[in-house]
Subunit: 631 residues, 2 copies
């Protein structure tokens, strides 16, 4: 028999079960109209997934359960598999709150079907507790259930669900998101489902976008389908969800794999879609008329995700207008061009905010950019207020009530740099934004965030850091992409790509001289290793690789660069410790108070990469190696 | 035989195993000098506990293991039980990184003793994943080990450790922190240890201070000792540890319970100590010459914890001086008096920063406070800069490059309030602090944090929010305590306690009129329920309690107040939704960028109470009730 199967790749709005229920019902009706027999909806379709501790709120949980009943009631003539929270009010989680499962419900004709559990739902088996995921914080697990249920093994509990379609019985191997990412878990859920008789594997997910993640998923899921000799349906949602410090996009990219592991069809990224196919129960083959979309390169992926995420996040916050400080440098240029693309030029206000240290070069570049973007632009000079502030501070009489003495203090050159940065951010941009309406932008990139090259309440401020998860070289590439593929003209002037970066906060930091001590072709890659390497490489590894002449291949920077920059170990160590101290030191304090970041990498600052303020640590082996080499 | 047992209540410095190793070795020597037979050191003695994702760094983990060997080597003639990370390099955690356990090592004469595991350590069984705890993110669990080890049940793995003291064998029931908090876990570890033959229960902990927590621990641990009919040693560390957004203090309060459950002795709070006692193997009784310290009341507990935590946190950050904005209101008064107590009056700079809206009353109060504290004081008026800013903003010509038209915008009264707040915080306080040296203070309290009554980059700024986990009524009580019990004089003038709170940001917000819309005797308790109620009560519960006339007892405010404030349901609903919308709305964005909070309550904003930006949600039942009652 031929069965029509479908994935409803829908937009999920976290924390709004009433909105998500309407969406699910809409897609159930669509599926019915297309004679779909089995419809998949994403993991946590009704509540959303990244909810923080809203997962503890009883009223919310009960609502999700109640809306779930509405969905179940709408399944006459169709089998619908949807993700929702499952409550067991008779038991508690280990935190003492109502017991809950990250569950899949399989409903048909208004009734729920069962798998291997003594409950009318399937529970997620593999609960991820890394990166932005906190499943064990919220959800009970089958592993914890085992001693209560007394089965021989977990294998007895992970069973397919038998559904009857037009008189024929089919065993669906339903599993949830991480259950398909079997690499490091003891139980291989798809293999267990297969062993227990599944005829079709159905994975429902709520899986955030990460650069290169779909390639990895294709490898893993395709191998599973092949190994099980079963077709696999993968249903993921779209939308954005956040964990406070990080905003994640969900790209969907729902797809079908046939039993030989081949990718048959996929849904477009970041769009709602009903992806349909035909499962032949006789041959066990899956087929689909839908296309397979081409893979994007890195910059295309970055643009697509930030474009979607930036747009959706502003929409969610109710922000329709943005104010952006435009220095003439690459970071603010890319951010400005991006927001103009997202909101339209009429809704963006670009501010050039010069002091005496800003060059005509950058001021003109800023103006040219605003002109080519056709947007709103103003120049707000700060020198007068800076001068008055310095004068006020230098003349402020501090009275000591113990001694009766008075003193004055003097603004140092370093203090003056931060005074300028805060005047731009907290006085001008925040102030003008409140007049213009909407929010204002944080233009910091990931390289700066890594070492805290930004001023508290100055440039690390705003509603979101759109390019906060991009290394400097990715910012440049995105700038080129905006010119070439989005605007099809040079909205970001060529000079912005070629001038040496400078903060222009003092006479020694100028566009000609530079003044930015980060050597991006090397440090971008070193810093990336600081945060993105899976085993969290530390100075011990970097020094040892330097000494073995393998550092470049380990961190991925250009060959030959390291020897050129650091002809001797002392200079290498000096540089390494300078940045490591900043990475583990003051920059952590800055990141704690930084705006939310649009997360796209395999490790973003914020809730994805959790940090305590501890200060730098150097291991025994590092200190020994260092002592040896500097002897 | 009589055996000398001891708890080394030591200061643990998170992320610094070399420092902690020196400390542990020092206490092992002390214990040897006092002929101690069995010495307990705290959970995660060497690495510390709240480390964020430093738990992923291989070099750090290997160092902890290596320093652990130093400790083991120092155990000639003594049995030492200490917490450390245990690595299993042959296996991976579910995240694919090296497998690690939150472990207790039991060492004697340079060798490790075993319990029920096939490893030379004891693993924590109950892994907390609530509040600030993320054990499952980092540590492998016995539950996950079960299918690999194939025992019949977990009970086979949770066994006492047999140690030989002067020829006599004693079975020690060693367990780690949460294993003693058995309320909601399936396995009762102390009961299993008892069943498997333990003669003495030894709990090593790294347990943060929370108001009232020691009372609860005494109840639970005493009941366990009694039920098992075994004495119980509880060893906790002191120090501070943080999770980025929250700084936790560790009060120690290590103690001994006899087998009848009675509390025999305890170590002083927030001090290092070697608490010793005698265990009689014949009678099974424990005894000690050490005293039991009296319990503190709430305000004493708050003062003690903040005093210790504030001091240690500044020390850790290397901050010896502080700048504090002093408005004349209670929050800045308490904060200022506290920092003067912590750092000494010579190191504190108090700034009164008046605009045209500040009254002589508050300006004089600020001056009187600085005088009575004998500290440094300056007045930095902002009206001139504010006027110039308004003039500059109002006259800034915004050019639209699409239409060629220009426009100007006008500063609104609301924008002006925020301009003043940011000028105080980001220009004056941050600027003057950079001249004075050290850091500056965030004076926000928990009531304001709940509803976002503070300005981004204005008053929610600084190195830490010392009173950020205190409700307004706790701030007042702490102010009284500082006057009466700390300074023994009125450093905070009486008027500061009695004037109506006002932000003094406009002509309508004055000291006489008030202008603060929060009615603290009611809203303090409502807001407390928003965040601190275990089941996260929501508008559904509040409205239903209001209608049942039980709201006051549920939230704990004064009787009679609710009817007086809200004679009809419409006014109640109006007020509730106003604050709930703020609590779930813009205030979340503000908390995401807020400074670290000194956490003392059972639920602090930050990493303890994790928040996504989602906006307010009202449940079906709430909306039905509301519709009914407003009909």
């Amino acid at each position: 028999m031929k069965i029509t199967v479908a994935c409803a790749q829908v937009r999920v709005q976290p924390g709004r079960p009433e909105v998500n229920t309407r969406k699910a019902l809409e897609y159930i009706e669509k599926a019915k109209a297309e004679q779909v027999d089995i419809l998949l909806l994403p993991e946590q379709m009704l509540p959303g997934y990244l909810l923080g501790d809203l997962w503890e709120q009883k009223a919310f949980l009960k609502d999700c359960e109640s809306y779930g009943k509405d969905l179940i009631a709408a399944t006459d003539g169709i089998c619908v598999i949807f993700g929702n929270i499952a409550l067991d009010p008779d038991h508690v989680n280990e935190d003492g709150r109502i017991r809950k499962y990250n569950a899949a419900f399989i409903a048909q004709n208004g009734k729920l079907l069962r798998g291997g559990l003594p409950y009318p739902f399937i529970s997620k088996t593999a609960l991820p507790d890394y990166r932005e995921f906190d499943d064990s914080r919220y959800f009970h697990s089958i592993a914890k259930l085992l001693p209560e249920l007394h089965p021989d093994t977990i294998e007895d509990l992970v069973r397919p669900v038998e559904v009857t379609i037009r008189g024929e019985k089919i065993k669906l191997g339903v599993f949830i998101c991480e259950d398909g990412w079997t690499e490091n878990y003891y139980y291989n859920v798809p293999a267990l489902l297969c062993k227990n008789g599944a005829q079709l594997l159905c994975n429902i997910s709520c899986s955030p976008f990460t650069l290169q993640k779909n390639r990895k998923r294709n490898e893993l899921f395709s191998a599973q389908a092949k190994k099980c000799d079963l077709p696999l349906l993968y249903c993921n949602c779209i939308g954005i969800q956040n964990n406070g410090k990080d905003v994640f996009t969900f790209d969907g990219c729902s797809c079908f794999y046939d039993k030989d592991g081949s990718l048959l069809a996929d849904a477009p990224a970041f769009e709602e879609a009903l992806l349909t196919g035909t499962f032949d129960t006789r041959t066990g083959h899956l087929s689909s008329k839908a296309p397979v979309h081409p893979m994007l390169n890195e910059t295309e992926e970055i643009f697509t995700s930030l474009n979607y995420g930036g747009r959706e996040f502003l929409k969610q916050l109710g922000i329709h207008k943005m104010t952006i400080g435009l220095s003439g440098g690459i970071d603010s240029a890319v951010t400005a061009a991006f927001y103009v693309h997202i909101l339209g030029p009429e809704n963006v206000l670009l501010l050039n905010i010069p002091s005496q240290y800003n060059s005509d070069v950058t001021k003109n570049l800023a103006r040219r950019m605003a002109e080519s973007l056709g947007t709103n632009y103003a120049v707000v000079p700060i020198q007068e207020i800076i001068d008055k502030t310095v004068e006020q501070f230098n003349s402020t009489r501090i009275h000591n009530f113990a001694t009766g003495k008075e003193q004055t203090l003097q603004v140092s050159p370093f203090a003056l740099e931060n005074i300028q940065a805060r005047d731009r951010g907290a006085r001008v941009i925040a102030g003008m934004a409140s007049l213009w309406g909407g929010g204002f932008s944080c233009n910091s990139n990931k390289s700066e965030m890594t070492v805290g090259y930004a001023t508290f309440y100055g440039d690390i401020a705003g509603v979101a850091a759109l390019i906060g998860d991009l290394w400097k070289h990715q910012v440049y590439a995105l700038g080129r992409y905006l010119n070439e593929a989005v605007y099809h003209k040079e909205v970001i002037p060529e000079e912005v790509f070629t001038i040496k970066p400078s903060a222009e906060l003092s006479a020694s930091q100028t566009v000609g001289k530079g003044g930015d001590p980060i050597i991006y072709p090397y440090h971008d890659y070193l810093f990336r290793a600081f945060i993105e390497s899976w085993y969290k490489d530390a100075p011990e590894e970097y020094l040892s690789w330097y000494l073995q002449h393998t550092l470049e291949e380990h961190i991925g920077c250009e060959r030959g660069l390291v020897d050129q920059l650091f002809p001797d170990a002392a200079s290498f160590i000096n540089d390494l410790e300078r940045w490591w101290n900043l990475f583990c030191g003051l920059s952590v304090a800055k990141r704690i108070q930084a705006p939310p970041i649009l997360a796209i990498s395999k490790r973003a600052y914020g809730y994805d990469h959790r940090e305590s303020q501890l200060g730098p640590y150097y291991s025994r082996r590092y200190l020994e190696m260092k002592a040896n080499v500097l002897k």
